[in-house]
Structure formats: C-alpha cells, structure tokens
C-alpha cells in the first residue's frame, strides 16, 4: 500500500480530453450547424420586423385626406428618389407631408428602444428605460420654461427644442456627479435619477400653476409626445443621434453582456464596470434627449420593445440592439398610425396610444413571459 492519494480515472480522462481539446470533426461540425441555426432564428426575427415595417410604412403613408394607394405610395417614393416626379402634388403629399412623420416615428422608436436596451443592461434592471435617469423630467422642465415663462437658452426654431435638450442633460450630469462622490452602482444611479426627477417635476408643476390655459395646454401636448413636429429639417438631426448611438452600442455589445453578469465578474474580465456605466449613461442621455426634444415624451417604447425583442433573440446585446431598434421603430409607427385612424379625423398623440398599447403589453410580459427572459 502506498500513501499517495488516489484520483478518479474519470476525472483525469475528462481533464486530459479538455486540455487536448478533444472535439472530433463530426462533433464540431454538428455543433456549428446547430449554432448557426440558433443565430438564424434571431436574424429571422429582425428580417421579419423589417418586412412588416416596410408594409406598415407604405400603408401608414396612404392614410390621410388625399386618397393615395399602397402601391402608388411606393411608386411615388421611387419616382422621387429617381428624380422622375410624375405628379408634383402627390409627391408633395407623400414625400413632403406624410413621410417625415412616419420616418420620424421609425427613427424615434428605434432610438428610444436602443436607449432602453442600454439602460436595462447597464442598470441590471428590467424596469429601466431611457427616462429612468430623469431625462424626461429635465426635458419637460426645459420645454415648460420655454412655453410658459418664455425663457430659452436658444432662439428661433430651437426655442423649445433647444431648451428641452439642454435641460434633459442636467439630470445625467447630477447622477454622474453623485456617482463620482459615492460609487457608480446601479442602485446609486437609479436613486439619484429619482431624486432629480422629483425636483424637476416639482418646478415644472409650479411653472404650470402660474401659466395661462393656452400655455398649459401647449405644455400638456408636448408632454404626451407627438410626431407631428418631425420634418425633413429635424429628421437628419434625430437620425444622426440615433444611428451614432446604435452603432456605438453595437460596438460595445459584448461589454454590455459582460456587465450583465455583475460588476466583479465584469472587472475580472477586464471591463471597468463603473466607467462603462457612466459612459452608457451619457450615451443614453444624448440620444434620448435628442429624440425627446423633437417628439416630446413618448413612453413605454424604451421599456417594452427591448423586452419583446428579448423573447425572440435572447439577451445577447449583439442581436438585441438591432432587434429592439427595428421592433421599437415598428411599434411607434403602428402607434402613430392607430392614433391617426382610430377616431379619425381626430388625431390621438402617439405617446397616448403607446401608453394604451404598452401598458397591456407589459402586463402580458409580466404574467406570461417572466420566467423566460428575466433572471
């Protein structure tokens, strides 16, 4: 008998196989095929959303006083792109009047959905959305200040928009300041965001108490969110912010995945969780502030779109960012379409319709899908 400890043959064989990377060619091919099918399902969801979006976009443009058909809409758009305009009036109705609203819905919806993905992954909280950090309260205060008190940092066309943008960045600045003083944990950020939100909301309420009825109504309309203000002048600005934000998010999608495993795991993998969280906060505030400044406060997109996309593509941010963007764009476009058609000719703001759609959707998610998507 020897005193040397005995070890299991099974364990030694398993480790040896692992060390020697003992996958057979057949195993490897079979796994890779299965993995490609897994990724294909995710891609299919994105393609399906784009296809639905194209159809709804065409139909959405047909809705209005002038009777323009579905196929005709695409023909007019094509003629416009090709520089071969056959009917100036119809071209003006489709491209000049109706398209900006629909395209604006797609871009704004996509931007808010991407911001929602970033916030949920960054704050490790399924309830987070672009407004969690108080962007909405800051923007609302800025707009109210311009409408009610006639005070704005910028003049001209940017009288309300510019104020909303600048003030929407203040809550983020406060959160970053608090995070630097304490720590940049998700809880600190959320609590600081709530505190700033209450402060801004209180001041906004005071301003509205002093306002005349017309100004109060204007503030109210701004707050519920509408796409009627989007036009070919401001769409490039919103599109640039949303596109840049989406690209940056895609590039750091792996880091977002890592962040979701917790700060210690992330740091051990070489990702500075606190720095990334602050960067994400700045990114979300810039993108959402740009969108909100032009559309007002459209809620639920940033909350619901990522959750629904997550059901189909999973939590891998590489796919989730694109899927949420496409689904969010489609959802806001549908909300706007419903708002224009449900009790036509009266138009209900997209923000109101989104709340009607988003609330029940969120309840459905909580009741039916929680176990599949939330940890």
């Amino acid at each position: 008998m020897t005193d040397r400890p005995r070890y299991s043959r099974k364990v030694i064989d398993s480790v040896d196989q692992w060390v020697s990377r003992g996958s057979t060619v057949e195993e490897s091919e079979e796994r890779f095929d299965r993995y490609r099918r897994y990724l294909l399902l995710k891609t299919m969801f994105i393609i399906a959303c784009v296809a639905v979006m194209v159809v709804v976009l065409g139909y959405s443009i047909t809705v209005g006083a002038s009777n323009i058909g579905f196929i005709e809409t695409y023909r007019i758009i094509w003629e416009h792109i090709a520089g071969n305009i056959a009917d100036d009036i119809k071209d003006y109705v489709v491209v000049g009047l109706r398209m900006p609203r629909v395209i604006g819905a797609v871009i704004a919806g996509a931007g808010l959905a991407v911001c929602g993905v970033i916030m949920q992954s960054t704050l490790l909280n399924p309830l987070a959305d672009p407004y969690t950090t108080g962007v909405s309260s800051g923007a609302s205060f800025g707009a109210t200040l311009a409408i009610v008190a006639n005070i704005s940092l910028l003049g001209g066309e940017l009288f309300i928009v510019g104020n909303a943008f600048v003030f929407s960045l203040i809550p983020t600045a406060v959160i970053i300041f608090v995070s630097k003083l304490k720590n940049a944990s998700p809880t600190t950020m959320i609590m600081a965001g709530i505190a700033v939100m209450y402060i801004f909301n209180a001041i906004t309420t005071v301003l509205m108490l002093w306002a005349d009825p017309n100004a109060t109504q204007a503030v109210y309309i701004w707050q519920v969110g509408t796409l009627s203000k989007t036009n070919w002048n401001n769409i490039p600005i919103i599109a640039a912010a949303v596109l840049a934000g989406t690209c940056v998010t895609l590039l750091m999608s792996k880091k977002l995945n890592i962040l979701a495993t917790g700060d210690e795991s992330a740091s051990a993998l070489g990702v500075n969780a606190n720095k990334l969280r602050i960067f994400n906060l700045i990114l979300v505030s810039l993108v959402s502030a740009t969108v909100v400044s032009f559309t007002g406060l459209i809620g639920f997109i940033g909350l619901v779109a990522p959750h629904i996309a997550r059901i189909f593509v999973g939590p891998d941010n590489k796919y989730l960012v694109v899927a949420s963007a496409v689904f969010g764009g489609m959802l806001l476009m549908v909300a706007d379409l419903l708002g224009r058609t449900v009790i036509s000719p009266v138009v209900i703001q997209a923000g109101v319709i989104m709340a009607f759609i988003g609330g029940p959707m969120f309840l459905w998610l909580i009741i039916n899908k929680k176990s599949n998507i939330w940890g």
């Binding site: 979701a260 795991s265 939330w374």
Partner: protein, 267 residues
C-alpha cells in the same frame, strides 16, 4: 507556466469601512492548488479580491512574477487571472452557451468561430453541462449555475485561477469532482489555483497548500495539509473539537458535536 504571487504587508478594506486585511505577507507559487480556509468574516474573500485587484490595497504590494499588479491594466490582469466570484447575478436569463462564451471576451473576434464554439462545448463537457447548453440560466439549479460560472472562469485559460467558494452550492459528488478536477488541471496545465473552501476534508484531500485565516484579516499559518490540519488548529481557529485521521494519504477531519465543552445528552 509557473506563476508566483508575492503579497507583501498588504492592508485592505472596502471603501468607507475599516481595514479588513492587516499586514498580510504571503507567497503562492504555481503550479499548485491552494485552499484558503477560515471562519466566516475573517477576510478570505477580501484577500482574493486584493490579489485580483478588485479591491485596491491601502498599503503594501502584490506582485505577479515580479510585476506589481498596480501597474497592470484591468485587461492585462484579466489575462493573468481568471476570477469566479462567490455568487454571480444575471439580470436577464442567458442560455448557458452564451453565458460561458462571455469568458472568451478579449480572446475572440466579432463572430463566433468554430474553435470558440468547440472550446465552449469542451468546457461544458468537462463540467457535465453539455446537455444544458441551450437552457436559460434561470432554469438551472444553484449548483448548475455555479458550474456555469466556473466554466466561464476555466475557459479564460489564465495561468492563475481564483475561485471564491466554488463548491458552496454543489452536491457531494460535484464537490469532489470539481475539486479533484481543479487538482488535475494544476498538474496538467501548470495553473496556480487559489480557492476559498469551507470543507476541511475537501481542502485536506486535494490542496497542495492550505492558507489558514484565524483572526480577522490575519493569516494564521500556511502549509501542507498534513502539517496544518490538526485538532489543535481546528480548535483554535473554529472553536470546535475534532479528531484527525489519515485517509487516502491525506488528513481527514471528524468533527465532534461539542464546542469545546464536555457535551451532554439531549434528554
């Protein structure tokens, strides 16, 4: 791979709180399986977080092969040390495959290659998780989740592996399997494995070296299991009586149900 960690006179604590680690000097050299044992709250996790620079020491130095870890970036350090925390959270339920693949961060391109996928499956197979590859993490037991976290640490292929209670939620078979596997990995790959462990028999059977933390923030002794695991030390550190026999060439602790007193019958 023969990594040497030298800890010199470090003091460490969490932000805004008192020191937890006080003046620890310790040298750990691979390839070896090192178990850190000691009662709750003595600073075992704090010590391993210091080694991994997740907590920055307030004094002293830690070097890896002569390089002060304070001079290394987070990314460089992650190539040297894989760290598996005691518990890991996942806000959104991720399939096991994706969760383990996260461990390849910094080592893989934008697209997942066949080699990456093979490595993930080989690691899953090693930890008896291959059949669960597509299962979402919230449909796993605590023990299965712990093995997923361990797989994520192993796949990083670092020369130093630090594990905070890797066997805490595992059944006895998997506790034995995982610790034995780590022991074999140290021998086969030359890795330095540092793990916090509460099971004295597991530590005694598989560790090459045991670090005993007795009082908060202080290393009581370091040595081979046969030298360290004694009834006197167990009584001093844990305040419980025990007998130590030799089994399978290693000390084996039989704990007595008394805490230093003479003991009485229940009725």
């Amino acid at each position: 791979m023969k990594m040497k960690i030298e800890i010199k006179d470090i003091q460490c604590g969490y932000a805004g709180s008192d020191l937890i680690i006080r003046n620890i000097d310790l040298t750990l050299e691979g390839p070896k399986l090192v178990c850190i044992i000691g009662p709750n709250g003595v600073g075992k996790s704090t010590l391993v977080k210091c080694i991994n620079h997740l907590l920055v020491p307030r004094g002293g130095s830690i070097t890896i092969d002569g390089t002060d870890i304070a001079t290394l970036g987070r990314r460089e350090l992650s190539r040297l040390i894989s760290y598996v925390p005691a518990s890991s959270q996942e806000c959104f339920s991720m399939p096991v495959l994706d969760s383990v693949m996260i461990g390849l961060y910094g080592r893989q391109g934008w697209r997942t290659s066949r080699t990456d996928l093979d490595r993930v499956y080989e690691t899953l197979r090693l930890l008896d998780l291959e059949d669960l590859a597509m299962r979402p993490s919230n449909a796993l037991s605590a023990g299965q989740r712990q093995r997923v976290a361990l797989a994520r640490g192993l796949i990083q292929d670092s020369p130093i592996l630090i594990l905070d209670e890797p066997t805490a939620n595992l059944d006895v078979m998997h506790q034995m399997y995982v610790t034995e596997m780590l022991k074999v990995i140290t021998a086969r790959k030359g890795v330095l494995v540092i793990m916090i462990c509460h099971d004295l028999n597991i530590a005694a059977q598989f560790a090459d070296e045991i670090v005993v933390m007795g009082r908060p923030g202080v290393v009581r002794t370091v040595g081979r299991p046969a030298d360290v695991i004694t009834p006197e030390l167990i009584r001093e550190v844990y305040g419980i009586d025990s007998r130590v026999i030799t089994h399978n060439g290693a000390p084996h602790v039989i704990l007595e149900p008394t805490f230093g007193d003479e003991g009485v019958h229940l009725d």
